[in-house]
């Protein structure tokens, strides 16, 4: 089995593996769009088909796929790659030395702690939660009772009553709209709900909609709406079109 000739059928690429590698190296294929896992799956499928473990092929595949993964990882984190690439050997040595020094100090500090533990190992003491009594809050300075009473009286005044006048909603009777719609339907076989009630107040529109539902329940009309929030079209039941979607057919 020759890995380079492995036929791939991916979303981003179709063809042999070595062509894929060539395209990637020439920057003609964006690795970000490439599903590396799919390549691995394709290889595994081929491997199982042959029913024998081809170690050479596996090794080659591992090398190639890991190189591909590394390229892809670098591509996904471009800034970091640039940062590392920009380091001169001198700087790299300094950075490495700095990190090593930092770790070495902490390692020695750990050694110091270990020695300390051995020296202090024969100190025994009581450990446990500290059920300390809650701290006493400092008492307030004495106050003049008359002033306190005055302050309380100020707060004891009942607040002015809130007017609820605006809360009383006036609902026009549903019947009014039933009659209105019926008379409209006598003149026209169909109409647009929004156009018919567009000039009314919100409450009136709501009641008009109730009237609509009432008419629909009585079977006098059918209602159509192509999509949510689309215009609602009303038609007399006797002129209902068969090809349109209606509440009745639903």
């Amino acid at each position: 089995m020759i890995v380079r000739e492995l036929e791939l059928d991916l979303d981003a690429f179709e063809g042999p593996f070595d062509l894929l590698l060539t395209l990637v190296l020439k920057d003609e294929l964006d690795l970000v769009e490439l599903d590396v896992a799919a390549i691995v799956l394709a290889f595994l499928e081929r491997l199982f088909e042959r029913d024998e473990l081809d170690l050479d092929a596996c090794g080659e595949f591992l090398v190639l796929i890991s190189a591909l993964l590394e390229l892809k990882a670098r591509g996904l984190f471009p800034e970091e790659a640039a940062e590392l690439a920009e380091l001169e050997p001198e700087q790299a040595a300094e950075e490495l030395a700095r990190r090593l020094a930092e770790y070495r100090r902490m390692k020695e500090a750990a050694g110091w702690l270990r020695e300390r533990l051995e020296v202090e190992g024969d100190r025994y003491f009581r450990i446990g939660p500290a059920p300390l009594a809650p701290k006493v809050e400092p008492t307030l300075a004495p106050h003049d009772p008359a002033r306190l009473a005055a302050a309380l009286r100020l707060m004891a005044v009942p607040p002015p009553e809130v007017s609820l006048a605006h809360m009383a909603l006036r609902f026009p009777p549903v019947v009014q709209f039933l009659e209105r719609f019926r008379s409209v339907l006598k003149r026209r076989s169909r109409f647009d709900f929004d156009q018919e009630v567009g000039e009314l107040s919100r409450i009136e529109q709501a009641v008009a909609f109730l009237a609509l539902l009432e008419l629909r329940r009585e079977g006098e009309i059918s209602i159509e709406q192509a999509a949510p929030f689309a215009p609602i079209r009303i038609s007399r039941s006797d002129v209902e079109r068969e090809d349109s979607w209606t509440l009745r057919s639903a």
């Binding site: 001198e90 020094a101 100090r105 902490m106 533990l117 025994y124 003491f125 939660p129 701290k135």
Partner: protein, 200 residues
Amino acid sequence: MDAPLRLIASNPLDQLAKTVEALLVVASAPLTAQDLAEAAADDPERVEAALGLVGERYREGRSGIVLEHVAGGWAFRASREAAEACARLIEKPAQRNLSQAALETLAIVAYLGPCTRPDVTRIRGVAADSAVASLLERGLISEAGRDEEAGGAIRYRTTPLFERVFGLESLSELPRLDDLGAGVDEIRDRLHAVAEKRTA
């Protein structure tokens, strides 16, 4: 001052010293002079003086109980002479079998704390999750808020128990970081020598 110092009845601090002694006996964590002063309802300076008397009475070699200044406060502990007997009586779960990884993590938290798990990982070069979990369980470190800059990672710091277990009056008793890391310069020189060869 080799003569045995008695808490003479005429000493005005006698009563306060007894109170301090009693408070230290019932406390399970070190108490600061301020804590003691508040509990005894007395003046902090007089409490300090009384602590001097108590310390004189309870010192190593003189009593089975020893007064020590530890973790920023005052506490009684067993005398070192009694350590073996104590070991037969009680466990020391906080410091038993501390791994190298845990000790290094502890050192990093002690010096750099409050610091996050990624900070520890960066310095040690390996994940610190289990070491941090173990130290938390032992009560040697505790959570100390979150690092808002590093994506809200939890920060840790050492606890008073850490200072007590290691017999430290405070974290400032740790050796200075600058005094640690002998041989660091040698490593740096060697690395630079390698770098020069590569540039050449």
